[in-house]
């Protein structure tokens, strides 16, 4: 084919690809907006149904005279109908103004943005560590199925999967901090805010808590997925063609078996962020988990709404990334069909 024609063909492919990607992202973005709106409406009205008097929570005491009660009541806009309050809040949210926390007296956005890096750092790091280890162990189990290795790893994974992360955290705290005094207990902060050596010491225990469950889950999932693929005819064909076992394993088995794992990654992030509140509580880490618990207990409506909105958005983005990864891994899947 002449070079000019080849270049033109390549150019056309690229443009088609960009158009397809843009259309796909736009569609998913609109879907994300809808999800966020529905979630915010549901959250707003449900939180307003929670028992307890917000005025007394904000006042910090139940010994409030009528004058003070009225002052706080009108200051919080509680005299307005719920729908009007929601519309006002939603309009402000579009400008990234989620209001002021009732209990912390700071803008909600500031409070969340101060804590979200910690939770994301822990969650993403946990995923980056647990996923490859879990996949490797799962492959080992699948390849050596029904052997002692498979039994040992599977048994360990099932046990770890059953143990709650906060229990693991307390046990690790007891062993390494209380009994052996090998590691520090408190003072965790992000690596760019403290000496790296100290940060790594403080990271070991919470990361272990978050990662163990992830490794266990990934191991089991990978094992199951790989066993499904091992039985396929194309694997037998690949072997009979004389391909080396490593090539069969990585090029054919793993590539086909990885799709369910990618599916899980998006929801895994959600589980990690939600589950982080136990670990953050045990190790006194100021993240989204502890903030979420505190704001629900204190019925801090602006904070609850802000957290729900931001977390929903983050998770929607995570799912979009997961879908794009599908296309990268499996050429049979196109963005067009993925959006549908």
């Amino acid at each position: 084919m002449p070079i000019n024609a080849l270049c033109a063909q390549m150019q056309e492919s690229i443009i088609k690809g960009v158009v397809l990607m843009t259309r796909y992202l736009l569609t998913r973005f609109l879907q994300m907006i809808m999800v966020v709106v529905v979630v915010s409406v549901l959250t707003f009205f449900m939180v307003n149904l929670l028992p307890g008097d917000i005025v007394l929570i904000v006042a910090g005491t139940d010994e409030v005279d009528q004058e003070m009660y009225d002052a706080i009541y009108y200051e919080l806009g509680l005299d307005q109908p719920v729908t009007e309050r929601y519309i006002k809040w939603a309009w402000n949210a579009l400008h990234l103004d989620f209001g002021k926390s009732y209990t912390m007296n700071v803008p909600v956005f500031d409070a969340i943005s101060a804590r979200i890096p910690t939770t994301l750092y822990l969650s993403v790091l946990s995923m980056l560590i647990s996923t490859p280890i879990g996949v490797v162990l799962g492959v080992i189990c699948a390849v050596n199925r029904k052997t002692k290795i498979d039994t040992a790893i599977t048994l360990t994974a099932n046990t770890l999967n059953s143990l709650p992360s906060f229990w693991i955290g307390i046990v690790l705290l007891y062993i390494f901090c209380f009994k052996l005094k090998l590691l520090p207990t408190i003072g965790f902060d992000l690596p760019w805010k403290m000496p790296l050596g100290k940060h790594l010491k403080l990271l070991i225990l919470p990361m272990t808590c978050l990662t163990l469950g992830g490794i266990a889950g990934m191991t089991r999932l990978t094992r199951t997925s790989m066993l499904e693929v091992i039985r396929q005819d194309f694997i037998r064909t690949a072997r009979s063609k004389g391909l080396r076992e490593k090539v069969v394993l990585y090029k054919h088995m793993l590539r086909n078996g990885i799709l369910p794992i990618i599916t899980v990654l998006g929801s895994r992030l959600a589980v990690l962020i939600g589950g982080s509140m136990f670990v953050e509580n045990v190790f006194a880490i100021p993240g989204m988990g502890t903030l979420s618990v505190k704001c629900v207990q204190s019925k801090d409506i602006p904070m609850i709404q802000g957290i729900v909105l931001i977390m929903t958005t983050l998770l929607c983005v995570a799912y979009i990334i997961t879908d794009i990864m599908y296309v990268v891994v499996d050429p049979r899947i196109s963005l067009k069909s993925s959006a549908e």
Binding site: T156, Y174, K179, K181
Partner: protein
Amino acid sequence: MNMKEKIRIVAVLLVLAMLFMFAASCGSDKTDNPSSTNPSGAAPTANPSNPSTAAPNQTPGNSDNTDTEAQPPEDAPKYGGVYRYAVPNEPSALFLPYRSMNGYEWITPVIESLCWRHPETYEFHPLLAESWTQDDKVVTFKLKKGIHFTDGSELTADVVAWNFELAMENGNGASFYNPVFNRIDDYTLEVVFDQFYLNAVGVLATRPIYSKKAYEDNGLDWCLVNLVGTGPFVLKEYVQGSRIVFERNDNYWQAGLPYLDGWEILLIPEAATQMAAFTSDEIMRFTTSDAGIAASITALGYEDVSVQTYDSGWFTSLLPSNRDPDSPWAKKEVRQAVLLYGIDYNELALLANGPMANVYHQCGFEGSLFYDPDIEKAYVYDLEKAKQMLADAGYPDGFTTTLSGIPANVSVMTALQDILKRLNITCNVVETNPTDPARYDGSLRGLVVSNGASAWDATTGGGALVALRSTAKAHASHIDFTQNPDYGRLIDEASKARTYDERAEAAGQAQRILFLDEAFAAIAYFNGGAAFRQPYVRGELMEYNTFSPRDTWFDK
């Protein structure tokens, strides 16, 4: 060795490692704590107070000496170090004139008050104020000269008055009776009340004084999360939900103080984490109301330094609603039968709060202003007598009632439900949210389990009136105290008393009506607790287990 064998060996090693970890965590062998030394020298007394309560601004002043130069203690204190301790909760704001707050320890390193009060004698000593007088309804404070806030502004009568007036504007003036403030000159402040109050000095003296300039320059929002005061430390960092960090104020008005370089409060919700941090010497103080945890710490060689004081105790109370005339609780005989004779309070306290609870049935301990031993003697667990009294009142087969309380009192309600079954009283347990309007609008009936703080002190007795008054006020919605007209009259007499003897007499009688004659309420027990500190922590007020940022130092 092929790959399979290598993998096999690694797997076996992993399993062995896990087994070792489990084995290491089993058992409770008593190991020496290399970071702990001999227990501290403070000797605990018999009944621990609530160790989590800290009296505000309990710092040693110069007694009656107006000289600002600090007198060094006999055993020379050492300079340096950072004091750290952990709490499970933080206040919603740091600015008291705007919102009342729990957790004065969050501001005391920076914010000082006119006086400080000795935790044992309860006498007031000068701090920011040089002297004071009270003449009937008028209290006059003379301030020390030359004291500055860390923003450079000077402490004057106008600034002090502004603090109180701002609190009144925000609806917080009731705690100090909403007086009028007159600035006589830059350092003299006259406070005029609408009537004589025996504790007029007390309600003003320990109130924190903030910088007016900081408020005017930065606004309310800034002040809610920042602190500018005259204290021995300055705010370095406040990370909400995590920690507050103070560093030494090198320009503190009392030369030579503080001894420490810094003061930190860490928010650690989990008791196990606090315990681990304490035994690792990462924090210097640890309090707990869990007997098991306290025993674990004691086993490591630490001494419980919690101190019983006359005030600052949290109690659990039982409040039967008498508003419904058809309810059994409307009858005095029923209330007396159940509250005085029908409940084994030792059992209730043990089940609900563990072995550290203290069973007392009035607003204070022995030695406080109107402690009445006859009230304690009146509570005698006698099941047969209680049943007989119920039968005489028309309830030979018992009755059914509602037992309500906040979620924190679930253990009390569960234990009480079981105990009342012995009297054939069937309880339907209802959990209510602490801020549920039903607790205050009169819709709650039956027996309510509640909590209160008793600020009952030996000299002023003002706190006990708060306890008696709050028992009346906060729960007046479901208790009709007018059934005995003397009660309200006696409370008023006590509040208007001109001498402590008069107050003791009136409040003592009111207390007898409340707990015995009418059995409007019953105090079941005081919550117990233990407090521990690192043995190298020293300070004049340390033996009273009181926060004292100014004079604390490390003997190491």
